[in-house]
Symmetry: D2
Subunit: 401 residues, 4 copies
Amino acid sequence: MSDAASDVVTEALEELRQRLQGLDEGAVADYIPQLAQADPDCFGLALVSMDGHRYRAGRCDTEFTLQSVTKPFVLALALAELGPEAVDRRVGTEPSGEAFNAISLDPATGRPANPMINAGAIAVTALVPAADPARRFARILECLGRFAGRPLAVDEAVYRSEAETGDRNRALAYLMRGTGALAGDPAEAVETYFRQCAVLATVDDLAVMAATLANGGVNPVTGAVVVPEPVAVRVLALMATCGMYDAAGDWMVRVGLPAKSGVSGGLVAAGPARFGIAVHSPPLDAVGNPVRGVAALRELSGRFGLHLMHNPAPAAATVVSLRRDEHGGEVAAQGALDFTAAERVVSALGECAPESPGTVLLDLDRVTAVDTTAEAMLRRALDLLTEQGHTVTVTGLPREG
Amino acid sequence: MSDAASDVVTEALEELRQRLQGLDEGAVADYIPQLAQADPDCFGLALVSMDGHRYRAGRCDTEFTLQSVTKPFVLALALAELGPEAVDRRVGTEPSGEAFNAISLDPATGRPANPMINAGAIAVTALVPAADPARRFARILECLGRFAGRPLAVDEAVYRSEAETGDRNRALAYLMRGTGALAGDPAEAVETYFRQCAVLATVDDLAVMAATLANGGVNPVTGAVVVPEPVAVRVLALMATCGMYDAAGDWMVRVGLPAKSGVSGGLVAAGPARFGIAVHSPPLDAVGNPVRGVAALRELSGRFGLHLMHNPAPAAATVVSLRRDEHGGEVAAQGALDFTAAERVVSALGECAPESPGTVLLDLDRVTAVDTTAEAMLRRALDLLTEQGHTVTVTGLPREG
Amino acid sequence: MSDAASDVVTEALEELRQRLQGLDEGAVADYIPQLAQADPDCFGLALVSMDGHRYRAGRCDTEFTLQSVTKPFVLALALAELGPEAVDRRVGTEPSGEAFNAISLDPATGRPANPMINAGAIAVTALVPAADPARRFARILECLGRFAGRPLAVDEAVYRSEAETGDRNRALAYLMRGTGALAGDPAEAVETYFRQCAVLATVDDLAVMAATLANGGVNPVTGAVVVPEPVAVRVLALMATCGMYDAAGDWMVRVGLPAKSGVSGGLVAAGPARFGIAVHSPPLDAVGNPVRGVAALRELSGRFGLHLMHNPAPAAATVVSLRRDEHGGEVAAQGALDFTAAERVVSALGECAPESPGTVLLDLDRVTAVDTTAEAMLRRALDLLTEQGHTVTVTGLPREG
Amino acid sequence: MSDAASDVVTEALEELRQRLQGLDEGAVADYIPQLAQADPDCFGLALVSMDGHRYRAGRCDTEFTLQSVTKPFVLALALAELGPEAVDRRVGTEPSGEAFNAISLDPATGRPANPMINAGAIAVTALVPAADPARRFARILECLGRFAGRPLAVDEAVYRSEAETGDRNRALAYLMRGTGALAGDPAEAVETYFRQCAVLATVDDLAVMAATLANGGVNPVTGAVVVPEPVAVRVLALMATCGMYDAAGDWMVRVGLPAKSGVSGGLVAAGPARFGIAVHSPPLDAVGNPVRGVAALRELSGRFGLHLMHNPAPAAATVVSLRRDEHGGEVAAQGALDFTAAERVVSALGECAPESPGTVLLDLDRVTAVDTTAEAMLRRALDLLTEQGHTVTVTGLPREG
């Protein structure tokens, strides 16, 4: 077997990496010594497909502390354990238009704006159910490991430094206990949050983590169901509006993918049902996003057509043939059927059915998957044709994967 | 031909309409008499597919003034005429977190937050190039008509009432000329904006308008290219973060579609490359969004799996067969090829290529479309296989539509 | 008669002027050409006492446009004509903590924060009752002239330039009509306000204007009652908290006098019942206050002990003698009697009254004035002594001035 | 001796108390049980003059915890110990326009807005120099006692309850250490602040405390110099703009006195060089000020003419006689001489001096005090007359008290 063909994606990543390596802007975070020592030239990027195919360029196996990049994954854990209502009671879902460490809570509800700013993330961390702080963190670490597909560890020196300089986060925690947004002891919540920020991973790990969210919560490399699909949808939605701090609108316009960045230079982005991407490069721009990471995502989105609002293909891909005469008709479909595709099939069935009762054939042999919406639509359409007196035959209706 | 099958979608819309008709909350806008007279029970919803198929329930042919629903479409006109840089110089791209008529401009740039709040929309309207105000409005009206697929008219009584009570919008216009966000005469800009708000259309029209944005700027009913695809992408991106006033995050979590509402009760939403939806029902909630429209979109998104972050189908739909022996291999693909699908095909080619030079067949007969990204990836992969000494044969590589 | 003695104050002003002439900071306002042409070295300061004595140093007879310095005086006119309730309905009384041209209105009431920021001043100007705009401005100009003690004129070139560049103020006016804070036509209100800002006066004029407010509304030079005393109190109170833009607290700490500055470099301050001060020097600091004017007031306040919170003198000045034996007692008082002084006199009466009925003498020959509070207190104390059986004699109880 | 006469002030206070007792609005603070148990009908008010005369009505010897009323007095201690620069580095001087427990710090400096909101008060408390927390609080308690003229104690139950519910204040403390506004340990600073809030005093005590500030830092009852005069001036200035939470402007307009309120219903106000007033009544209005206390101060200010901007007396009280002929002149003055009075005397001297050298007499026998400004002015005027050849004689120039 040859890797030559699959090098097509790698080549593109490598070309991008080389070009952006020269982008010499931004400054490494320096509020704790350990972050200040990061190599500003360290730069890696990786992409993982829904089939678990992995593509990489640059330094992808160097560990760094994930910092805020952990936020969406711990949110996913809390949502999976408690459901959206319990989390919503403590934390909002709106972009804050403010800095990542903003201290404003909603005046009416006392909740932080969203789970991607520090205040919201601390409240989410405190929600993870556990008998004591040590077990709470153990669950968080274990969950991050399932997202990555391997066990992860903590950088204890970074944790201790964060704890020493974390007065602002302590303030947020006390403030939130005062308003009811935080359950439990504020000092403990902040310590757990600092440990979470100090979890170590590589760009390779992060790309798998992002791909797991894109894949409806199923790790595409290990096959493990890490969180349920509705949880992954919700987390991606929050990343789309709140993940890139106070530049949500610009990010949606120029990149168009749910994403999350961290102060150590990590950045993840996800294309729902398509891919996970991770980048690491320590220098940050003025709002705290990694300079090379942002540039890389803008380029990738444009070159590969990854923008959520992009209209990638003509509309007629589902129905591959349609035949009709006075006695009956036949429709053949292909690919995966969701609402959009099922609408096309149903519409084609309507078109090919004869005016007087006749025969209708639906050939689904080349259909690879049918979601519950599509299945219900097909069944209803076939029922209606039967009620009209047609004789209906279906070949190859599969179960949903 | 029978409509029975296609009634499947209609049935679902009708069932939803009947249920939500009983949702008796919110209040009709009453700042001008003409809006106050709207029938609170008037309720219609429509969906248009990328093939131009139309589905509807309720009152879909009653005309009402579009109000703020015009904003994304006039933005599309300005972007198409002037390009994104010229528009960005005057108007930002960030959600404001404030009410639709907020008076805050960015302190550093003097620009309104985004083109979906009144200030931004007035600045955008003033940007539409024209020799004089009458011709500027004529272009706007003509463009809205192309989005709808039929000529539209203005409700002159509503226009006059808006003009009489529009002091806040006049204030915004003078403020923006002061900061440089508005070109030209403020009084004229506001008058043109008021006329634009008073344009009349039906739910049927609006659904086609939304579908045109979802379809990359091509009206799926008339086939007219109304705006270029990158303009449609940009407008949808701004609708996603700024379209639903100060509830952008909640909307993305619960509905997950770019959308725009108006004070007369109109609401449009778009699924990129999938559909356009329109709803009309006058009663508004506290933030100014139509109560039944919001409820309808939440239900439709959940029931039909329309959320942008939803992972609709298993991953293996593209490559339908893969054969390999010691002398060579063969890959057959189907459907529309974008980056994600092309990655699968290229990956499969790598898998089936023999270790020593041999033959590689790529069967694209069932492929319906290939976008530029996918085409480049395939060509590069085939080149690499050729360089490795393989004899490569392709059947059926189509041109991009 | 010799001026030698009275030169003591002049000497101090002149010494201060010479020293601060070298203070070479700040920048002349340049948003219209006429202001930009102001001589940055022009500098004059003047003080007028409650007796109408006038002291001056530097350029005190050069006319300049008063700009925002007109605000407290036009407010006084509106208050005198309409009373505080009518003005309060349109304009608040709180420091805004924002720039002079801030566009925020109170979200609950729609009113501008106070009459010293542009929005509030425009609303106040529009309140001045008149049959038409020309007569409204005529009344304003006439009133400013009575404050100054001579007729004033308008710099028409400055007025026209302001009108050309005044979009922000126009915005404020339309905004306020929208919220109900502004009565009448916004365009007209702004034109009248621009004319008011362009009224010409000298430092000498301004010092008399300030002294008139300090003197309870009576011009200490002409003797004219320009506004009632409660109006002057209210205007001074608003100058104390809102007069120096967004540095109200620092001004109260470091200067401790009600004051108002303007963009052309004028500055007025008032010591209630003590003096009016005016300074003119065009260069402004970052918040828009004149650099030399602020420095001059800080020095004058410190050197002359002018701070409102300063405790200028020991407590025992009122009662000059007190005599008591077993048959009776006698109290002699001096100076002007207000609540504080009357309390001392009444307290002394209590001390000197014999235990059994006797004679009580109150000698007010050296008392120069008695306000209504003090008079009532004295009368009540004498009644009580009479009720106790004492024979009470008073010499020299004057009428209030 | 008879108290009859001095009952004049008492009568007025008593009449006011009876009338306001019926003012049945507001709600007792209930965030801790001890405050919630306060008797809403408890109501007392007291006034202390600069001579130490004491007037009272209602419940004036019931102890209550002072809460925020301690803020200006502990600020005075910090200013006296460290000087204004050291305090300014940590805490600003501007009204916040926000609630007492607002969490916003200045974005540029990280400082709380002023020492009258909780954040600022905690920072001030932490500044009081001491070897350890116990000694820090001992100094604070001792200083409050010197203001009151008697030793004060702490309500330990209230302290413990405050400590249990004080998360918001803890948040503020951590936040301020993060920005550099707070020196030392946040947890300790907050504990000391809670103890300070729980100090017990009566209305009688509070009136003496306020009178001490009004009297330039000298306790008018005990004669003790508690803080230097410039410290008292600065504290009163800050009370004037920041003491009544977010209603500084309204308070200055309607009352016109520096003041400070507390959540337990205490309220102090001071007339510089005139009096101290205290009120206690637990029910609070919506912004957290005591309803009866605010009403009492409004009435007292109006009835007794206590407003700082009030012009209490005609201008001619200082110079009691002035004689002039061709050979010489004579001026007789009376009362306490400050800048304003000295200007009158100097002006009179200029008026009475003959044109050719002659004799000038200045009779200061009835002058009771001369401050340093006035003394320098008189000396300079007499020097100038001597230089002009006049023979100058002064009788009775006193030293400043």
